[in-house]
């Protein structure tokens, strides 16, 4: 951010002449592998956390055959998805400082003669272009998705997943290419060969501290959507945490085109093979009720916790004579939008904290929370906690 302190060749230093800059035109006082490798290390760590937690979130919705999602701890998905968005947000200042520190290298000229050096130069450029494009893509689409803004013409979920693999692949290749430089730079003190700063200017160490502070500020300003004690600090959080019965909502009844039901005539269907039973709202309320404090944790990274009361799904499965460990499909009354149905794998059905909830915070569910009844299970993403349930299909 300071002007060049080194003597540039007289021809290049001539002012008022527009031309493409050279790599040497930029100040190298703060820039260098000492700074880049340290910021890059933490950028790599935060983005690897987003990659792993993102993969975990993807597996909640598309579970591979070898994986059994556990029901405990009940807060696991809340933490992993909160971490996904928090570490992605912290990566924004780290990425910007990292790119600033290597920006002059964009203006290196490729070797003139065709040959191995030119080929290597081009290969490195392509791998870095993939890395930078995929990181910016992931951060931009992820932050937009958290704010439920979709200004693009592709499926967010499938592209965020595909480009995550472009990112992790090009990151690993980048680390492989730079490993000797990184190792040497990290072994040396950050201020190695650093010229004395001009009066009042930052040192490299100072810029590093500012970068860490910027990452911290970005987290504090947004994390209140999931870390409730930060909600008064997080001026840019996507949710304040307010909502009907103390929990925000993602899809309203209006958006799902669900009408309020008539509690006298409404029936819940529970189907197992050729057996079907209907339950009125009064019958459901007459069954033994259980209460649990469980979070709604959304893929967008926000979460909130509530006290849910209702019938354990295991009891409804037993009521139609289905065996333990059966799977349950919950079918919603919603007419619009995705995730109209969800599957509860056997371990979730067997867990007695998995409820067909009727009440939240001691009152009947608000219409936007899924009145008359909804699924609430421990350690599940919000999209799978199906609202406005009208039918449960049980499969042994």
């Amino acid at each position: 951010m300071t002007a060049d302190t080194r003597d540039a060749p007289a021809e290049r230093a001539r002012p008022n002449r527009l031309r493409v800059p050279w790599v040497d035109d930029f100040s190298e006082r703060l820039r260098g592998p000492e700074l880049t490798s340290r910021v890059g290390l933490w950028l790599g760590i935060t983005l690897s956390i987003t990659f792993l937690t993102g993969l975990w979130s993807h597996f909640q919705q598309d579970t591979p055959g070898w994986l059994t999602i556990p029901t405990s701890p009940y807060w696991l998905y809340r933490v992993t998805q909160g971490l996904h968005v928090i570490s992605g947000t912290a990566a924004v200042p780290l990425l910007l400082v990292k790119l600033w520190s290597v920006f002059p290298r964009l203006f290196r000229r490729p070797p003139w003669r065709p040959g191995r050096a030119q080929l290597l130069h081009l290969a490195e450029r392509v791998s870095i272009a993939l890395l930078v494009a995929s990181v910016i893509f992931q951060l931009a689409t992820g932050l937009s998705n958290a704010a439920q803004w979709y200004p693009w013409g592709f499926s967010f979920r499938s592209l965020h997943y595909a480009v995550a693999w472009v990112f992790i692949g090009s990151l690993l290749i980048h680390v492989a290419v730079k490993l000797p430089v990184i190792r040497q730079a990290l072994a040396e003190p950050v201020d190695r060969d650093e010229p004395a700063p001009p009066p009042g200017a930052l040192t490299r160490r100072g810029l590093l501290r500012v970068t860490w502070a910027a990452a911290g500020v970005a987290v504090l300003a947004t994390a209140g959507s999931t870390v409730s004690w930060l909600r008064h600090v997080s001026i840019f959080g996507v949710r304040s945490g307010d909502g009907p019965q103390g929990i925000p909502i993602n899809r309203s009844a209006a958006a799902a085109q669900v009408e309020p039901i008539d509690p006298a005539t409404w029936r819940l269907e529970v189907v197992y093979r050729d057996r079907a039973r209907e339950f009125s709202l009064d019958e459901l309320r007459a069954m033994p009720q259980a209460s649990h404090d469980l979070p709604i944790a959304c893929v967008e990274g926000w979460s909130g916790s509530g006290t849910w009361t209702g019938v354990p799904v295991a009891d409804l499965v037993a009521a139609v004579g289905a065996p333990d460990g059966s799977r349950v499909f919950a079918v919603s009354m919603q007419r619009r939008g995705g995730w109209r149905t969800s599957e509860l794998p056997g371990q979730f059905v067997a867990d007695r904290r998995t409820l067909l909830a009727l009440d939240l915070a001691g009152e009947p569910l608000a219409l936007d929370h899924g009145y008359p009844c909804r699924i609430i299970a421990p350690n599940r993403p919000g999209v799978l906690q199906t609202k406005w349930v009208r039918r449960l299909e049980v499969y042994a």
Binding site: M1, T2, A3, D4, T5, P15, F26, V92, P93, L96, W100, F103, A129, A133, I136, F137, L139, T141, L143, S144, A147, Q148, W149, P151, G153, F154, S155, S158, L159, W165, G169, S170, L172, I173, V175, A176, L179, P198, P199, G200, A201, L202, L207, V210, A213, A214, V217, A218, T222, I235, F236, G237, V238, R239, D242, G243, P244, P248, N250, S252
Partner: protein, 145 residues
């Protein structure tokens, strides 16, 4: 060293190959948008944001008195990057009338108030640095090229 480099490079190539199989599934009519977003971020950074930051640095080294330079850098790095991360909530493209629990904070007002506080802090910090370091060393000649 070579073994370590291969330990990163081989899974890296495998991940890219898997990414290619996922991208292969992208429907043809979505490709324009995907490429716009992939290339757009790089172009916006390299051709717009980075030149602006470099220009700000040059301008600051010419016209901003030395005591205010570091506070200005701190402000630009912290508040500038936070502003970029907050574009989706500041723009409010996801606001929906049927869901008052989403994007339910005064984001734009917070941004203006925050910006005002940042400006006041930068001015005050530079002033404090000017007062506490006396005499303030002169800038070396040639720094304002």
């Amino acid at each position: 060293m070579t073994a370590w480099r291969l330990a990163f490079a081989i899974p890296g190539v495998a991940a890219l190959a898997y990414a290619a199989t996922r991208l292969w599934e992208v429907p043809a009519d979505a490709w324009g948008s995907v490429l716009t977003w992939l290339a757009g971020g790089v172009v916006l950074h390299d051709a717009v944001l980075a030149p602006i930051v470099v220009g700000l640095g040059v301008a600051a080294s010419r016209w901003l008195p030395a005591p205010w330079r570091s506070p200005a850098v701190v402000a630009v790095v912290c508040w500038g990057s936070l502003t970029l991360a907050a574009i989706p909530v500041l723009y409010g493209g996801g606001v929906r009338p049927d869901n008052p629990t989403l994007l339910d904070r005064p984001y734009v007002a917070s941004w203006w108030i925050g910006s005002a506080i940042v400006v006041v802090l930068v001015v005050a910090a530079g002033w404090w640095r000017l007062r506490s370091t006396r005499p303030w060393p002169p800038s070396p000649a040639g720094r304002t090229r």
